[in-house]
Every structure is written in C-alpha cells, then in structure tokens.
Symmetry: C2
DNA sequence: GATTATTGTCATAAAGTGAGACAATAATAA
DNA sequence: TTATTATTGTCTCACTTTATGACAATAATC
C-alpha cells in the first residue's frame, strides 16, 4: 500500500482531525472523499509505534494542509466498541486494491483520538491522502454524511471550540497574522453562531490586552480605514 | 494472573483514574501501592476488546471504591512514546510472579486515557487491585512520587477540574447528598486553592437555581443552624 | 439568661455590560 | 473640488453584576 508499507502502527488506535478554517463568512472544515466508495470522512490516520499521538496528528495536518505550526489540540477520545463499522473500511480497502492479509488489522475495532485544528484558510492547499480522491472545505452546517461516527466527532469538536473560544483566545488562529477588528468579530460570530455587538466586542477585546495595534491601516473600502491588529 | 485470565485486552491502551475525594478540609486522591516494589500509581487498567473505554474506566472506579453512578469523565490522552518505562511494569509483574510469556504485552508501549472522578469521600471503601497491597487517600499537595507520568496526569486532572468547576457545577459530587453552604464553599476553596467571600459565594450559588433548600436544619454547633441543601 | 460563633440577608460601592450617539475618514459620486 | 456614503473608534448613560461590609437571627454553651 502506497505510503503505509514498512511502517509499524499501533493497533486499534487512530486519530481524526477536525480542521477548521474561516473564509471570511463561514466556518468550514476539511473533508475527504474516498475513491469509488462515496464515503466522506475526516482527515485522520494511524500512529506509528515510535511516534507520539500528537506527532501523528501533527503530521496528518501537515500532509493534508501543507501547514506547520498550527493550533492543534486533542479534545476527546471516542472509545465505543462499535463506533466504526469494519465494512466501511473493507470497502475502502477493496476500492484501493489494498485488501490484503497484512492490512486486516485495519478492519478491527478502532478507538480514535479527536483533534481540532484552527488554521488560516488562505494559506492552505488541501491535499488528498492515498485513499481519497478529493478533499475540500465544507461549511459547518452543510456537511455531507460522514463515515462512522465522524459527524458526532465534528459536533463534539464544535462544542469544545465554542467553550474554549473566549477562554483560550484561539480565534485569531483562523485569521491572517494581521486582521481588522471586524474580521475578528466575524470569526467569533461564525463560531458562536450569533451576532455580537460591535462596541461591546471591541471594548472587550481591547481590554484583554492581547492585541497589538499597528499604525498601518487597512484601506480600499469607501469608509474610514480600520486599524490592523495582530496577536501579541 | 488473578483477575486477568481469559480476558482479551486491547494492546497499547490503558486508562488511569484520578479519583478525587474531599474530607471536609483537603482535596485528596486515591493512590495504590504495588506489592514489594514501593511503586505508587493511579488506579487504572486495560480495556477489554468488547468493552468501551468508558465502561472500562467505570468498572475500574467501581472496583476500587465500591461506588456506582459516579461523576467520571475523560480529560486527556497521554500518548508520548516513552511515557511509561517498561522496566517498572516488569518489576511489578515479577513481584507478583506474573512475568509470563502471555503477559509480555504489558511491557509494550502504552497510551493511556486519563479520567477524573469526583466522589463522596464518606461512602468509599478503598479496595486494592490484584497487583497492589494498599490503597489510600493522599492530599493533593502531599502526593508521593508516582510511577511513570502519573504525577503529570494528576497535574492535568487538577487543571481540568479547576476549569470545569464553576462551568459544569460538579463540585457537589464531592459531598454527601445533603450539605451546608459552608461545606460547598469549602469544596470550591479546596479545589481552587483560594479563599472565597462568603456572601458572594452564597448569592451566586443561590442565583444559579441549582440548589434545593431543605427546611431540616443541620444542628450541633454553638451558633445559628445553617440550612441543608441538595443538588436539584 | 447572657455569651459566642456562625448564618441569612440586606445596603452600598465598585466594576462590568448593553445600547445608542457622534465625530472621523477613505473611497466614490457629483 | 466638494458632498455623500459606509464604516470605524470612542464616548456616554443606563442597567446588571460583583465586591465588601453591616446587622439581626439563633443553637449551643457558659
């Protein structure tokens, strides 16, 4: 199998990544479509015997997005006995001519560690993995039916993201290094799925003392030019 | 091996539990001491092939405490390659006369799912597992050196507990079904490791509308008797 | 029956948030 | 060149929440 040969993986354990991006309007995630099966799935993979789970997930995100140094955090382990139907994996292996004896371990029960990543949408070149022929951005409320329990994994990731948004101040990971206050507000609104009050939002963000204001203004629109900010 | 024979476990994956209790003054956790090795460790175990990770952890807590229906939640997966020194496990197996060929899988790399539990200290009868000769409560700031990365696991559990305390309102799980406002405040103070203001705390708790006040008062002290409350 | 320690509640001050007003200004239209 | 438009940065005032202290109520003890 391309890419998996000569590697030793830990059995019964995988990782799956909910990779969030923001296109200026909508919160989106990266979804793979597998060859000839019509299955949609989250980007994921297995853990090599001499690789930490974090390293494996980090490499997974790098391979699918080209990005290094991304905000990436595990959020939950999904450990139900029958969370993954082995029949799905069988069909994927068959579609790839990979249903060999040495790959049978992939049909076993799998526990998976869920990770979520926040990335700068503009910097990404999505790249399919060896099983899939397409990878693309899907708005969070227009996801296709995903394999196994991947829709639930996304749900849980969203809950955790919403909880951590204000507390950990991670929203800026979805934006370019320099951004306007309005862009930042849009990120919060997209994630929380609610409108926020402009003046209150601005006052709060500034009071947190985490933003650096740059004198260089963002111009090009027919109105007062807003400041650009970066994360301190 | 007593208790493990005839069972099929998932390799390379375990769980460990940080079981919190509150004795009225201090926040404590349950720690095991292993036979003849002097090793201290968190209660934990392996996951059977037809058992979810949650079920395994739940059973682990039941076996060590006798308690069912306990607040129990996973908080982190520890997946570093060398987080567990196989030499420790080897010594434990030797001390138990269990270092057989069929137990060699226990010497392999292990990823572990960390759980934390909050229990009513008074209801517990701590029970050692088959490898350990003692189990006992240790104050959170007087823990012995634990095996492997178990001290770090406790650290992380504490951080998560502190974060979730106010948000998820889980503090009452450390108390008997009926408790006074002062007891509840003591729990918060022990977990957060800081003094809280009595009137503010009381007003906040009552405003949350999660407590039921009972007319039956707690008596026995030389002052006005406080109300008893229970969780709604 | 007075004393003591602690409780339940209120009063006031301080801090934080909601909601709108208004001047400033970059591009566009006149 | 000047007026218009849309949006930004900031301020104000009302309202809500939190901090802090005061005080009466009361169960056991002296």
């Amino acid at each position: 199998m391309k890419g998996l040969e000569n590697k030793n993986f830990i059995p019964n354990l995988s990782f799956d990544c909910v990779i969030f991006g923001f296109n200026g309007k909508l919160l989106k995630i990266l979804v793979l479509e597998y060859h000839n099966t019509g299955f949609f799935a989250l980007p994921g993979g297995f853990i090599e015997v001499d690789q930490s789970i974090d390293e494996a997930a980090k490499k997974g995100v790098k391979d699918r997005t080209g990005l290094d140094n991304v905000f990436l955090e595990q959020f939950h382990v999904f450990g139900e006995v029958d969370r993954a139907d082995p029949e799905h994996m069988r069909q994927i292996l068959i579609a790839n001519n990979d249903l060999t004896e040495e790959n049978e371990w992939m049909l076993d029960r799998f526990n998976t560690v869920g990770y979520y990543a926040l990335i700068n949408y503009e910097e990404v070149t999505p790249t399919p993995d060896q099983f899939s022929d397409s990878i693309g951005w899907y708005a969070i409320d227009e996801l296709p039916d995903l394999m196994m329990d991947h829709n639930q994994i996304v749900e849980k990731a969203l809950i955790v993201l919403r909880n951590n948004l204000s507390e950990k101040l991670i929203g800026m990971n979805l934006l370019p290094p320099k951004f306007t206050m309005k862009q930042l507000q849009s990120v919060f609104e997209a994630i929380l799925d609610q409108k926020l009050r402009r003046t209150t939002f601005q006052r709060k963000m500034l009071s947190l003392d985490i933003l650096e204001r740059h004198e260089k203004l963002f111009q090009g629109k027919a109105h007062k030019a807003p400041y650009l900010y970066s994360f301190k």
